[in-house]
């Protein structure tokens, strides 16, 4: 009797082990499959894990974050004198531009009235601050402290004072994940300011530059040309500054983004008016 009970218990536990192993492997397979096909369950799972686990991991990493901030402040302090000098020169230059800009704004207003044109400028959805970064090794993403409750949805453009930063790819109630321009999976429709060359850009392998993956027309843009969003893909509003062309060959060109991705503190989530 005792022997038969033992045999049954062993076989049952083995059966349970095999069953749970099969479930794990099946679940892994399904998660990968759903992730590839952008299935809604996986997105829900991602946003839940992000919003619940993130505070715990941030708490654990808080001392290192503090050390990182102190190091950044020390290096800022070291460069204070040089930066001060550069800023003084910048102020002088900007004052000249300001006078010119005021004149142009007045002229623009008059021309717009004359042409009865519609204003396609951006409308601000929410200004948010950075809560954490996930741009280690593979993806280039950041988390911001604004989510569904602030009216943020997926695929909204994110900018800062320097230009385009990326787009929201995941939103939970309180936080959102932003895919930066430098991520190899990001894709932006752009045009050059100089001769309106339309092309598609994605993050380059070095994680710093953007590289063109598709170019409309045969013309190669020139080094130094400024690149702005074209608005054709309808994710990013048009005419947001992206970067400057730094390297160009026959079939592709490289763009250095204006945004300093190492120093992101506040961002604006925007949409077209």
């Amino acid at each position: 009797m005792a022997l038969s009970f033992k045999v049954k218990a062993i076989s049952r536990s083995k059966f349970l082990k095999n069953l749970s192993l099969s479930i794990i492997f099946l679940l892994s397979f399904l998660l990968i499959l759903f992730s590839k096909s952008d299935y809604v369950i996986v997105n829900k799972f991602k946003s839940i894990s992000n919003s619940y686990l993130h505070p715990i991991t941030s708490f654990v990493a808080a001392p290192i974050k503090l050390a990182s901030n102190i190091k950044s402040q020390i290096s800022d302090f070291k460069n204070l004198k040089t930066e001060n000098h550069i800023l003084k020169e910048e102020i002088m230059r900007l004052k000249k531009w300001q006078t010119l800009a005021i004149q142009n704004t007045k002229e623009n207003r008059v021309f717009k009235k004359l042409l009865n044109s519609t204003d396609n400028s951006l409308s601000l959805v929410k200004t948010a601050s950075l809560i954490s970064r996930n741009d280690f090794m593979y993806g280039k993403m950041i988390n911001i402290n604004a989510g569904l409750k602030d009216g943020i949805l997926n695929q909204m453009a994110v900018i800062n004072h320097r230009g385009l930063l990326g787009r929201t790819i995941e939103t939970s109630i309180e936080t959102s994940k932003v895919m930066l321009l430098t991520d190899p999976n990001s894709s932006i429709a752009v045009k050059t300011i100089f001769n309106e060359n339309f092309s598609l850009l994605q993050g380059a392998d070095d994680g710093i530059h953007l590289v063109s993956i598709f170019k409309k027309g045969e013309q190669t843009p020139k080094i130094g040309d400024l690149v702005v969003t074209s608005g054709t893909a309808q994710i990013f509003p048009s005419d947001i500054l992206v970067g400057k062309i730094v390297k160009a060959s026959k079939d592709r060109y490289y763009v250095l983004p204006f945004v300093d991705f190492k120093n992101i503190e506040y961002v604006q989530v925007v949409e077209s008016k």
Binding site: F34, S49, T57, A61, K65, R133, N134, D135, D205, K262
Partner: protein
């Protein structure tokens, strides 16, 4: 009760795993090296854990860590889950053969497995999600693994003696 729980080796390894996971997924711009060290420590602990504390429940734990690593670092599922589960399954099949080696040989096997894991993770993320294999990062991971290998094993042996 708490003292007893904390003095158990398994609990300490779990704390190390969670601590290194937390440091890896929070990117520090000015101290990027900390992220690399934490990532290497996680993998070294993971393999050591498989070798000396293998249990069926590790499948659940590693599945969970794989999913979380993929969500945080890639925002898609795949590379970490696959590599963690592959090595766990491979170990289960090769357990009898691998545990016959001396501890000296096992420690070398651990570092080789860690190297292979890094390559496999990069390779799968390239195939599945088009993330380029960054040879600089991979080289840095190898270098840090070599440098951290002996100190971490020393630390693990101290934990085992508790």
């Amino acid at each position: 009760m708490l003292t007893k729980l904390l003095s158990s080796q398994k609990t300490i390894y779990h704390i190390i795993l969670f601590f290194s996971f937390s440091l890896t997924v929070n990117y520090f711009v000015e101290l990027k090296i900390v992220n690399f060290i934490a990532y290497v420590l996680f993998h070294l602990t993971l393999i050591y854990f498989i070798f000396y504390f293998f249990h069926f429940t590790l499948y659940f734990i590693f599945f969970l860590y794989g999913v979380l690593f993929d969500i945080y670092l890639i925002n898609n599922m795949g590379p970490h889950i696959i590599s963690f589960l592959i090595f766990l399954t491979a170990f289960q099949f090769l357990k009898k053969f691998l545990l016959n080696f001396s501890s000296f040989k096992i420690s070398y096997i651990i570092i080789i497995i860690v190297f292979i894991m890094f390559v496999i993770e990069s390779f799968i993320s390239r195939i599945l999600y088009n993330y380029p294999i960054n040879y600089n990062d991979l080289g840095l991971l190898f270098l840090i693994s070599v440098l951290m290998f002996l100190p971490s094993l020393y630390m693990f042996s101290k934990i085992d003696k508790l």
